[in-house]
Amino acid sequence: METAALQKVARRVRFEAVRMIYEGKEGHPGPALSCADIVATLYFDVMNIRPDQPDWEDRDRFILSKGHGCPIWYATLNERGYNNPKVEHFHLRELGSIFQGHPSMHSGVPGIDMTTGSLGNGIAIGAGMAYAAKAHHKDYYTYVICGDGEMQEGVTWEGVNMAKGRGLDNLVVFVDNNGFQSYKTIEFTIGQNNMADRFRAFGWHTQEINGHDVEQIKAAVTIAKATSGSPHAIICRTVKGKGLSYMENNNKWHKGVPTEEQWEITKRELGGE
């Protein structure tokens, strides 16, 4: 897809994600917006998928390891045509809604390849999918988006080790490196924010890009696919709350709901075309 069109999609899913949080009165907008460009680029350009056949066995797989960012995933799946007809109101986090607070593969949302919400597990689960692809002689890729905070979970590094050890070059992991976690900054919590060095030290093919530049995202995937023998980490510098002036780099928006006034700003900044 053309760059301009992709940017337009990213803007639209951002708006939809914030809208579903505004209407549902609860959710995590900051972490959703920081990975919007990555999710949009994957679904509208990179991944080999069939929205009308979500269980197609040769599809590329996607895991949102940072499950709390799911509004952006729900919005993107909807935009890409997974829901037929398109969903107007998501009823996010309401009783009986298919749109659970953290994504569930059994709640009825088409296209959810894996339940998430408990941090740190996406890479290891992705490694399982990638291993199965090789064992079944399939050539699909598995894409994972992780938060930078969940790099503190030990199981992340267990998965990193495993994927390297088995040479899973069909696994591509994006780290949404927005520099914040629930409470404060990554640096405050663990002192350092050197994600790329760590992946390199663990033997992964590692790239660093601007996670809001769709061209760079596309290029990084192309380079990853051309490099065999080890799994791929794409460390994305991002801005938490990207796209909304009142949210950007303000960690109070890790979780929160726009006021009516802020909703007006949202419509101005992200609404329309």
Binding site: L92, G117, S118, E153, G154, T189
Partner: protein, 313 residues
């Protein structure tokens, strides 16, 4: 009539501040959710007595063990689902097997966590903690009882676990209400059925008892806040007096307080029992009260269970 409601976690935060003011060796640890568990209050008031471990629950448990070995009195907190689920091996082998003086708080327990959905609703933690030797397990009924339980933990040597929910829940005790670890609290006397409850279900049970009274059924209500060690005398006495029991808890039916009561009854005084609990299923997103109603954790289901169990006498 409006009921005063306060989240139980406020009681935990309050107790921590009181403990630290009296004893600088008390130290609070959290895994990146200090605001939610209220251990963040310590961070604001006594920053030297607070450590944020980052999103690393196993490391949280292990470091707390080390702090205890080094002579501090650590109180750890994070969401119950991650505390009990992810750090169980550390709690079992490093903390309980060594009988270390580490206190553990599991926040956001139960289905009333609400919109976050099943991944964040701890419904197994009592089963997990109850099976560990040396562990004391408390499931308080409101903020004040949570405060008292937390203060009581500091007075005993050895691992302790307290679980509490996220929502503001009705206040049923005050500063003067007696509290003793291991001693069930009689909330209402009755003779036809004994309702043994813990956590937020205590309030629901008291409401149920009122409804039953209107139908000339006399229900005893017991707050079994300490699930382990269980107050055998109180449970057996209630069963003998009433002849049948309903247990009510915001936890899976297997392994929790209801199971503890069943073990106690079957061993000492076999009596009919009905279980109000989550019926072996995972939760989902929704508003807290909607979920409590949808999963049968409310006064009307307690009333129905009471009638059913009386008929089995």
């Amino acid at each position: 009539m409006s009921v005063k409601k306060i989240p139980m976690r406020d009681g935990y935060g309050k107790a921590l501040l009181e403990l630290i003011a009296a004893n600088p060796k008390v130290i609070a640890l959290d895994a990146d959710v200090a605001k939610s568990t209220r251990s963040g209050w310590v961070k604001d008031k006594f920053p030297d007595n607070f450590i944020d471990m980052g999103i690393a629950e196993q490391d949280l448990a292990g470091t707390a063990a080390g702090l205890a070995l080094g002579g501090m009195l650590p109180f750890t907190s994070t969401y119950a689902v991650f505390m009990a689920g992810r750090a169980w091996d550390e709690i079992r082998t490093t903390i309980c097997y060594n009988n270390l003086n580490v206190k553990i708080a599991g926040a956001h327990a139960g289905i009333s966590v609400g919109p976050d959905g099943a991944t964040h609703q701890a419904l197994e933690d009592v089963a997990i903690m109850r099976v560990l030797p040396n562990m004391t397990v408390v499931c308080p009924c409101d903020a004040e009882e949570t405060r008292k339980a937390t203060l009581a933990f500091a007075k005993i040597d050895g691992p302790c676990y307290v679980r509490f929910g996220r929502e503001a829940v009705p206040v049923v005790t005050d500063e003067t209400t007696p509290f003793e670890l291991g001693k069930a609290r009689l909330c209402r006397e009755g003779s036809d059925v004994a309702i043994i409850a813990c956590g937020a279900m205590v309030y629901e049970s008291l409401e149920a008892a009122k409804v039953l009274a209107d139908e000339n059924i006399s229900a005893e209500v017991i707050d079994l806040h300490t699930v382990k060690p269980i107050d055998v005398d109180a449970v057996v006495a209630a069963a003998k007096k009433c002849g049948c029991v309903v247990t009510a808890e915001e936890h899976q039916i297997f392994g929790g307080m209801g199971s503890a009561v069943a073990e106690c009854l079957a061993k000492n005084f076999p009596a009919p029992q009905e279980f109000i609990a989550i019926q072996d299923t995972f939760g989902e997103s929704g508003q807290p009260q909607e979920l409590m109603d949808a999963y049968g954790l409310n006064q009307s289901s307690i009333v129905a269970a009471a009638k059913k169990v009386i008929a089995r006498k």
